[in-house]
């Protein structure tokens, strides 16, 4: 038991709600029990049954039955206790990309913002000349059905955007300069 494994904290957004909440596994308590954290609350999930498209679990002593429906986008579609719901999932990859792209404490000096992952450009949130603050989203990439924001590595002005919506970028491709 204990924290033998590394669990990634993710961000989740549920249909009909604008709120983006953190979710993560804190600990595997036993073969079929997990301690998880959603927003600021901890829950115990006891898995009763799983197969290829159904998961049944008790969440803080309440039973839930979930059927998975195939998803075509970065969205996951479930039928939760009979209600059709979709959940958008996003890892903290934003932060990882952000750090690697020169944001965070590490640097801050470099001008070139690069993509740390390969992906398709879903949206560009700035234009040439846009003033951005460190951490502002510059563009959003989609890769393997997941969306991830690429954020400004420092305060500055966007110059020479090298990407186009709908096009693909490779890892380390330049996205723009921020001067």
């Amino acid at each position: 038991m204990g924290r033998e494994r590394y669990y990634v904290k993710m961000k989740y957004k549920v249909q009909d709600s604008d709120e983006i909440v953190d979710g993560e596994i804190l600990e595997k308590l036993s073969q079929d029990e997990y301690k998880i954290k959603i927003k600021d609350n901890e829950y115990v999930v006891k898995i009763l049954h799983t197969d290829s498209n159904v998961m049944e679990f008790v969440l803080n002593n309440e039973f839930h039955s979930v059927r998975y429906v195939d998803s075509q986008t970065s969205e996951m579609n479930f039928i939760v206790d009979g209600s059709s719901m979709s959940v958008n999932m996003n890892s903290h990859l934003d932060d990882i990309v952000y750090k690697n792209s020169g944001g965070s404490d590490s640097g801050g000096g470099q001008t070139t913002l690069r993509s740390q992952i390969p992906g398709k450009v879903v949206s560009i949130d700035v234009e040439d000349g846009t003033e951005v603050k460190k951490g502002d989203t510059v563009c959003t990439l989609e890769s393997m059905k997941m969306q991830v924001a690429v954020k400004a590595q420092k305060d500055g002005t966007v110059k020479g955007i090298k990407i186009k919506e709908g096009n693909s970028v490779n890892k380390n491709d330049v996205i723009a300069d921020i001067e």
């Binding site: 590394y6 669990y7 990634v8 993710m10 989740y12 549920v14 249909q15 009909d16 709600s17 909440v21 979710g23 993560e24 596994i25 997990y34 998880i36 959603i38 829950y43 999930v45 898995i47 799983t50 998961m55 679990f57 969440l59 309440e62 839930h64 979930v66 059927r67 998975y68 998803s71 970065s74 996951m76 479930f78 939760v80 206790d81 009979g82 209600s83 719901m85 959940v87 999932m89 890892s91 903290h92 990859l93 990882i96 740390q116 992952i117 890769s143 393997m144 059905k145 997941m146």
Partner: protein, 500 residues
């Protein structure tokens, strides 16, 4: 004595009829179309005969083919169910001619019930009130105006050939009446090449209340109480209940006496239903007789303790009714929800296809008449009624909460259903208070309420939904790891997860 019954129908009603026949030791014969090879009624009957293609005209409406099956299989009686040939007096006559006991009224009585104008005339003669209006077709706009002034505006002008909203006009004064008369006339001529207009009082906020009636071949008649079927969409009933919240014992008896008169007026035999509109002022107006066993008969069975199919068979056998009106007592409260395969948000459009899994509700005083089973198919060729879910309780509220639980238990995968709408309706204050009317859905914005309920429902399920997403990721990752023990740093985990 009836020993072998052909059920000229499909779906839940075919199964319902068979259940009673089997209990009574009567052999059952099913017929089926190409579309229904996998249907439960085929599997349940003692004998099953294929009668043609999926389209009803080529199978369930094919009188000659069905007669052929009856004659070759040695069937001595036929139960028509509802719909299809159930109110076809030609078919009833065909059966009579071939010495097959048609379980229902005589062909003559059925013909009279089916002819709205003659039936109305018979009721007027028997002093059963019908919706005020012209006794028949009016000669011209002048005569229409005269009648409108007698019965009072607003009135409806209806082409007897029209239907489905066309050839019908609501008018509130003489001027509108003259304009409307011209429009309806031209619409009718445009549509069918002729015109014949009747005038009828327009009733607002009406309730649909109907009476189960029952008359044997010796002329003994009783009513088996009322049902309120006001919750409808496009004139199709969705939820029925008995007793009606607006009918007290005195009213029940008063209208019940009219119902017995109505049955006599058309020399009705066997079970049938007299439908009434109840105006907001409390007046009841006869509208028509349904000359067959109705969809919603189970709720009347629940409060009367009778088996209506058995009663039908006994009457068809010539037996006298085993009770008088005074022997009959209503017991408790029953509700029926018609579980349709339809998408409420697509204007109730049919939703068809395979049903890979279904859980049928059960429990004390829960009854579910259905053709569903895991692996069955909801066909686009026939009506959208998949199941009739009925509950009984000693109080209205127990019946209602039992229904809500049964609706929650009813898991039908693969097609959209009317279940969510029914939950919203049954939870509404208007329904709880018995504020029923045929425009209930619109009057109380039920579709909008449903939308809000669904959003609220999803809001309440946010945490389990996120927990599902978290656990799905975990399980997917575990699976990948165990197959292929590569590195699992943040990015690769994410990529694995992304491919789900």
């Amino acid at each position: 004595m009836i020993e072998k019954v052909l059920i000229a129908n499909r779906g839940e009603i075919a199964l319902r009829v068979m259940k009673t026949c089997k209990t009574l030791g009567i052999k059952t014969v099913a017929v089926y179309s190409d579309e229904d090879v996998n249907s439960l009624h085929v599997k349940t009957a003692d004998e099953s005969y294929h009668i043609g293609e999926a389209a009803p005209a080529k199978s369930y409406l094919n009188q000659e083919k069905i007669l052929e099956v009856m004659l070759s299989s040695g069937t001595d009686a036929i139960h028509p169910g509802y719909g299809f040939l159930s109110e076809n007096d030609d078919f009833a006559r065909l059966c009579e001619k071939n010495n097959i006991n048609f379980i229902g009224p005589s062909a003559d009585s059925m013909n009279l019930c089916g002819d709205k104008m003659r039936c109305k005339a018979a009721m007027l003669k028997a002093e059963v009130p019908t919706v005020p209006g012209s006794p028949g077709i009016v000669d011209d706009a002048q005569q229409a105006e005269k009648i409108a002034n007698e019965i009072g505006y607003p009135v409806l002008l209806k082409s007897v050939y029209g239907g489905g909203g066309r050839g019908i006009r609501l008018v509130t004064n003489d001027k509108e009446l003259h304009e409307g008369f011209a429009t309806v006339t031209s619409e009718s001529i445009a549509a069918v090449g002729k015109s014949a207009i009747i005038v009828e009082k327009f009733l607002e906020k009406t309730r649909h209340i109907e009476y189960q009636m029952c008359r044997d071949k010796h002329g003994n008649a009783v009513h088996l109480f009322e049902r309120e079927c006001s919750i409808q969409r496009r004139n199709q009933k969705l939820i029925e209940q008995t007793p009606s919240p607006i009918v007290d014992q005195a009213k029940r008896e008063e209208i019940g006496e009219l119902v017995v008169k109505a049955a006599e007026a058309v020399d009705y035999t066997n079970l049938g239903t007299a439908e009434f509109l109840r105006a907001d002022n409390g007046d009841f107006y006869f509208i028509e007789i349904n000359a067959r066993l109705q969809v919603e008969h189970p709720i009347s069975e629940m409060v009367s303790g009778l088996d209506f199919v058995k009663l039908q068979l006994d009457i068809a056998n010539g037996e006298p009714l085993p009770f008088k009106q005074s022997d009959l007592k209503m017991n408790g409260y029953a509700i029926e929800c018609r579980i349709n395969a339809e998408d409420t948000f697509l204007d109730f459009a049919p939703s068809t296809g395979p049903v890979p899994y279904v859980t049928i509700p059960s429990g004390p005083n829960v009854r579910c008449d259905t053709y569903l089973y895991p692996g069955c198919t909801v066909s686009p060729f026939y009506d959208s009624l998949m199941a009739k879910l009925c509950t009984w309780g000693p109080t209205f509220d127990e019946s209602r909460t039992k229904m809500l639980n049964a609706l929650n238990d009813f898991d039908i995968q693969g097609v959209e259903t009317s279940i969510p709408l029914y939950k919203t309706i049954l939870n509404s204050e208007e329904y709880k208070n018995g504020q029923l009317s045929t425009d209930f859905l619109k009057r109380y914005d039920m579709i909008e309420k449903l939308e809000k309920d669904l959003i609220q429902d999803r809001k309440e399920k946010q945490i389990p939904a996120i927990a599902s997403a978290i656990m799905q990721s975990e399980f997917y990752k575990s699976k990948v790891k165990s197959q292929n023990s590569g590195d699992t740093d943040g990015i690769s985990t994410w990529v694995e997860r992304g491919t789900m």
